[in-house]
């Protein structure tokens, strides 16, 4: 049974445990400090939390005992910025994404850079090939002043796909020796019409992969939902009920036809449609969707589930989501029914099982 989840929040890292009476808060670390992302424990209990201290910058802390004790480790950082370099300053503003694949840790940052660590976050190496893409200085921000990498999806040792707001999706299939744009088919309705299908201007809010069939990818984009069945070579637009605007997407780990989304009205009105929280689920690859509401607030609700705020467990049926106003809801039946966490949390940046 899935019995632990982690909430990276505006005011600390919150560990949730499921006991007889349901989910509840078990422990909070870094009370008062913004935690932008968390990498849940591996089999040995090793985990990493990324802090974004308001005054003193990005800091990483690691734990060897699943969050009982922490120690500061190296944070991703750029080398000296060359004279005359264009684009955003070579300064890590935030760790927006962290993933683990084998012995490699990945960190995606604002500004839009990918870092790797092969020594458990004792040191980090910038992916210079991606950072030195000729068009990279022209990448634009999405929700922040600088562009950023929010989604990292590694497959094996050599393939990594990243989602960039706003520069589409990029993929390497040779461990970072070469990178290429892989957002073809995405459509941007916030651009002049002739640039709508330019992959370099796309704003994927989040990209999630089906673990069992890794060629299947889902994207909640700034103005739509897209799916790829060929590892990102081509994306097809889907149309969900209520709204296709939102931030979060969860891909079923085994069923390539099933995914979940949390719609909001639109970019200029980031609240649930009719101020009633809902989850859209497709079980047929996006041909149709069901709108799930049982147990979710259906009036006076302003909860927005941010891009890392919706999680699916490995069992494919346990879901949890956390909102920008601190609501958390869990489901044991793939979203058919939801139960609110009996606590009001800080704004939720990320929620992960593990």
């Amino acid at each position: 049974m899935v019995d632990r989840a982690w909430v990276a929040s505006r005011k600390g890292l919150i560990e949730l445990r499921r006991r007889a009476g349901g989910w509840s808060v078990a422990r909070t670390s870094f009370v008062g400090d913004p935690v932008s992302m968390v990498l849940p424990p591996d089999a040995s209990g090793r985990m990493v939390a990324a802090l974004n201290l308001g005054h003193f910058g990005v800091k990483l802390h690691a734990s060897d005992d699943a969050g009982a004790t922490w120690r500061e480790v190296a944070a991703p950082a750029f080398g000296p910025q060359p004279e005359g370099a264009t684009g955003p300053a070579w300064k890590v503003v935030m760790v927006w994404a962290m993933e683990r694949q084998g012995g490699t840790l990945y960190a995606g940052t604002l500004p839009g850079a990918l870092f790797r660590s092969i020594d458990g976050a004792q040191s980090w190496q910038l992916d210079e090939v991606l950072w030195n893409q000729p068009g990279r200085p022209a990448w634009s921000g999405g929700g922040y002043d600088t562009p950023g990498i929010h989604s990292i999806s590694p497959v094996g040792d050599d393939t990594v796909l990243v989602g960039v707001s706003c520069a589409g999706a990029w993929i390497t299939r040779d461990g970072g020796a070469h990178w290429g744009q892989t957002a073809h088919g995405m459509r941007a309705d916030y651009m002049p019409p002739e640039q709508a299908f330019d992959p370099d201007v796309q704003d994927p809010h989040a990209i999630a992969r089906c673990a069992a069939l890794p060629d299947v990818l889902w994207c909640q984009h700034h103005n739509g939902i897209f799916r790829s069945t060929n590892g990102g070579v081509r994306w097809d637009e889907l149309h969900a009920p209520l709204s296709s605007f939102g931030f979060a997407v969860a891909a079923h780990p085994a069923d390539p036809l099933t995914a979940w989304f949390v719609p909001a009205v639109k970019d200029q009105c980031r609240v649930p449609v009719d101020r009633a929280l809902a989850v859209n689920r497709t079980r047929d690859g996006g041909a149709t969707f069901e709108t799930l509401r049982a147990g979710l607030p259906q009036h006076d609700c302003y909860d927005l589930v941010y891009r890392h705020g919706l999680a699916i467990a490995d069992d494919g049926t346990t879901l949890m989501m956390g909102s920008t106003t601190g609501g958390v809801w869990a489901s044991d039946d793939a979203g058919d029914h939801w139960t609110a966490l009996p606590a009001r949390l800080p704004p939720v940046y990320a929620l992960r099982f593990g």
Binding site: L53, G54, H55, F56, G57, K59, E72, A75, A77, F78, G79, P80, Q81, A89, W90, K91, V92
Partner: protein
Amino acid sequence: MPLVAFTSQLQRFTETPEIRTAAATLRDALGAAFEANPRLRHYVLDEQGHLRQHVVVYISGRRVVDREALADPLAPDDKVYVLQALTGG
């Protein structure tokens, strides 16, 4: 010799030695403090060696002007305070 002191807010994260140094510039004075506690450096400066955006430094009541090269001169009786700026929350 100039005195260098840090906001007590930093003590949550790392030691903040209060030092006296013969340094003639802010850069060298901070460098002396970082020698006493190397971890302090990346709380105060970013990876380009600039003052972090939401860190502010006063030298005997004067707000530091040069936030990148840290070339503000120090007089022997100056007091340097490294503080959190309210812009950072």
